[in-house]
Symmetry: D3
Subunit: 232 residues, 6 copies
């Protein structure tokens, strides 16, 4: 699968993608069994964005953003471009010109395992980017990679067409075929949390709500009244 660009990929139903996007990263990550998170070094360039989209992937080389132009053509409204690197690099592969192009093609955001620049302009445009670094370092267009192939981005496997959810907590990927079942599980989770939130907010303890006192005691937790009683 080297130096290949795949034109047509399958995507999850848009309403599923949108609904996952609204639920946010932490909820979706839990709902699919605590899998699919990208490494925590992936941070948004500005606060407050929360998006869902279908992954259009690019595999690029350090210091070379050629494949981002290839990806621009492949993306459709509702997509999020996901860029993986063949080796670690923080050069500024993406800025407001490319964002203008991506937005014109309908892209909702970018997940970039490298550096991003034009942060001020991107913030003004409200084009959300999650990246490994902010760097103005310019890149060349000299070495070909691939697009819409499976990539490992920030430690997570992303297949083209997978659902990407990203917000202030980071980025999570949901395998396309599991999108609907994960959405169902996430909604159930949210419903359950509402009741717990009310109880916790009234001062009730998690120890009691979740029945943790006995397991904690069994696991060896010993309560003492005063610090001086705590010696082994």
């Amino acid at each position: 699968m080297r130096n290949v660009a795949v034109r047509n990929i399958d995507r999850a139903p848009q309403e599923v993608v949108d609904a996952l996007g609204e639920l946010g990263v932490a909820t979706v990550h839990e709902a699919q069994g605590r899998t699919g998170l990208l490494n925590a070094y992936m941070r948004p360039i500005y606060s407050g964005a929360r998006v869902g989209g279908s992954a259009v992937t690019a595999l690029a080389h350090p210091g070379d953003n050629w494949m981002l132009h290839v990806a621009a053509e492949l993306c459709r409204p509702g997509d999020i471009i996901v860029v993986a690197l063949s080796s670690p690099n923080t050069d500024g592969m993406f800025g407001e010109l490319l964002a203008t192009s991506f937005r014109a093609r309908g892209a909702r955001g970018l997940v970039l395992d490298a550096g991003c620049r034009d942060v001020r302009e991107l913030t003004e445009m409200q084009f959300p980017v999650w990246s490994k670094a902010v760097s103005a370092k310019g890149t060349v267009k000299a070495t070909v990679g691939s697009a819409n192939v499976p990539v490992v981005c920030a430690g997570a496997l992303v297949n083209p067409g997978d659902v990407i959810v990203a917000d202030d907590d980071g980025v999570v990927v949901v395998p396309r075929r599991q999108a609907e079942s994960v959405l169902k599980a996430a909604k159930e989770r949210v419903a359950k949390e509402e009741e717990k939130r009310a109880r916790l907010g009234s001062g009730e303890l998690g120890l009691d709500i979740y029945g943790m006192r006995e397991p904690l005691a069994k696991a060896g937790l010993r309560y003492v009244e005063r610090p001086e009683d705590a010696q082994d």
Copy 2:
């Protein structure tokens, strides 16, 4: 002191804790002789918070947030929960459900040598957290640690009941018994700085205000007029 939770700890007088909180990290750190700072990797999840509180401590294991529920019961209004890890980890041990619980118990904030999630929701709640990372990675409840025992959090020793001050500059711990003398020293420092600020603001130089010219010359600083005079 393994797997112990201590119910009752001594705290500094609340008005001392509050006053230290208002003075902020840099002032308090200087006032106690440049000690007690947590490692600079501890950053607030949002800007602008400044708090003081009494430390309720938890020692947790990587990827396991069980002890945070234990800590919730131990905290009183005015406390700040301080979580140390038995080995380095950035999983997202804390989110808005626990924050709801902590707030209901009167906690003013959290200092967490691990990851935090639900950053958007915590910002909306204005529940301040200082953490090593932002990560949505979920945690288990499988291994017991301790609560209200001395811990090393982000490189600093924190005893339960010590005063924690945290703001945009980071986090500092003041040993409980020194809280009053540190407060006194901090107030004196603030008073002295006011006059210096005025003089510096009028264009007077620190070189003159602090009498540095002679010590600098003695220490070997040599002034020259032009770059070409600077050769060795």
Copy 3:
């Protein structure tokens, strides 16, 4: 050039410095051939500042901010102080008192390869700082360095009088004698980008605007219709 402070340095014309500052880091960096960027770990302490200034340099030692007071005297309106360290350190060398002094001397900002503190106060003052870390750790005044000598700051060579441009994307240095030619190149670049931005914004692809299709094919990029066609 050890332990020397140079009183008089040459600067680029102020209108050139100002114009470079308005153009921002990414544009200036590109215009001078992708050189002169400081390491990407240099980050602004608050968002939104964009400045240009002439470099007054200081070479300081870890945990020692004595030379910043020396630099204060050397700076003139329109300058930016650039502090390099003799070995890596993140102690909080700079806070609002020194900022008050620097501002009174006309400095427009600080580039500091170490830690900064009083972030809240500096944000209120809108005195911009680009630093390696935020840290409240206090420093001593015990070891002499140099001022207005060539320094390596965050991996880039900065000569006193060079032009510094800094914004949310980081920090770039322009050699003094090249300031005017870089400004000219940067303005041409901006002019050219305007047309491209309009075309990209209308949905036209970079692949076509930049004529990349043929070079990509030559370089070996192969398009396929479906993922299953992508196997090697």
Copy 4:
């Protein structure tokens, strides 16, 4: 594929695996088109080992080495165990007792995206380990993961049965089905290099052997005689 252990996997022919192991990481990585390298933070615990083997994979949780015992049963003579973590962690998941078990099962080595301990004993045993860290930190056996499922280890996708080659340069993974074609390409590469080595060793320049002078000139490289001629 959660919490699953797969008993039977396909492996590449043993003689292919062995031959790839002898060729070493750099050669194999080049031969398969510069893909498949694990992150450079994966280092051998002692120098001089070079091995090839079939991957038996485990997905473990931070601070928990339970799945390594599961992997022990699944491995056959000639295998290399590859351990991925669900989030970054450096605890010491592996030591000489487990190595004794792995060796008894025929394993040739371990690739571990976490910490290793008993380095002295493992060196004496000559059981090679490539890990992210050396750490004596003990682990629990509390949370179940998976074994012989696809994993992302140190940034590379590893499927069970893929070929692992590891030496002082790091670790590379070769997809099982490509093992034979990669071996062929690697052997050709080695043959070609022999001639080049002789020519380079006699003082001939790469510039001439590879015909680089013209492309360099075309790409803009300008030769000058003396430093003072190098100004722009």
Copy 5:
């Protein structure tokens, strides 16, 4: 406890210290309940050393090794000097001259949360050092710290007189009063491991020796025969 040097401290019985040293870091760390490890970034400057000693502590400032001379006077035969820093720094605080002095005073080694230099000479002398970095960067003697006070070194609390054990796996601290009970537990652990080693070496599985099959099944591990059976 600022700027204090304590002349006389209590130490554990030398035969206990020696016996702990022989058992090594991993065993001692496990025997005291997986506590007391210094951060994994502390690495030996050469392989193969394994020592135990009583801690003589120093708290030094970044780039300043004055307190190491103070510590030299305080140490007795069988001691290990433990140096903590007031903020992170990697300057080369220690070299062969100081090692000559330390050895003459009977010190067995050094644990240094900073940089070490003269690595070649120290290796020839076989004076073992565990440090955060190797760096030739020289240091000054300008700022006073403390000696033989409690310190946090590489994330672990070390009290003067505590037992330090260090080897290729890192460094662990045993509180002085617990030294004998930890030694007892460690010896029992070693005895138990011998039998397990024999069984594992004969090919028996940890799954059976430790009775893990049922707990794994209860915890949800599901065995399947072939990869294609592993889908959720």
Copy 6:
């Protein structure tokens, strides 16, 4: 000075270069006033090498080793090639084929602010390399840089023809024109150290040899007999 290769540079007298090489990094660094050290992340790929040479410099781009071939032609017997990168990267830019070429041209070693591969073969050849990383990641030959121009390598300014000294402690650069005076100072330093070594080796304390007791007392160090006397 972009995309330029300078054919002829001035070098320090070979006997001066050789003598500096024999003295080693720590001594030379001290002798020139604690300046010129490269960042401590530059490590030798094997232990025990100590070399001096004249710098032939190359400025390369991330993932591109084209300029190393250019540098090969420019180096003469006694040189050390120094490679700086235009942005941080750890790809394996150098291996045994290039080493064969460099050696044939008379080069004594390589200082590389990127990754190195073929570590086993380079160790067998005893061709010493100091690098930022070990990585087998292959590189392209697509983008032109410069050779024999001033570069910033691992945080230090290196001019072509400067003297490079490298050993197990790292790498230091001595400006060409200062080579003789630094050599003189280094020899004096070595002579002085001999006497100190003897005195320290006999158990005499640095506190007495260097007359530190009074300065320490003046600086505020307070001796107490027992830990309990150390409270503030």
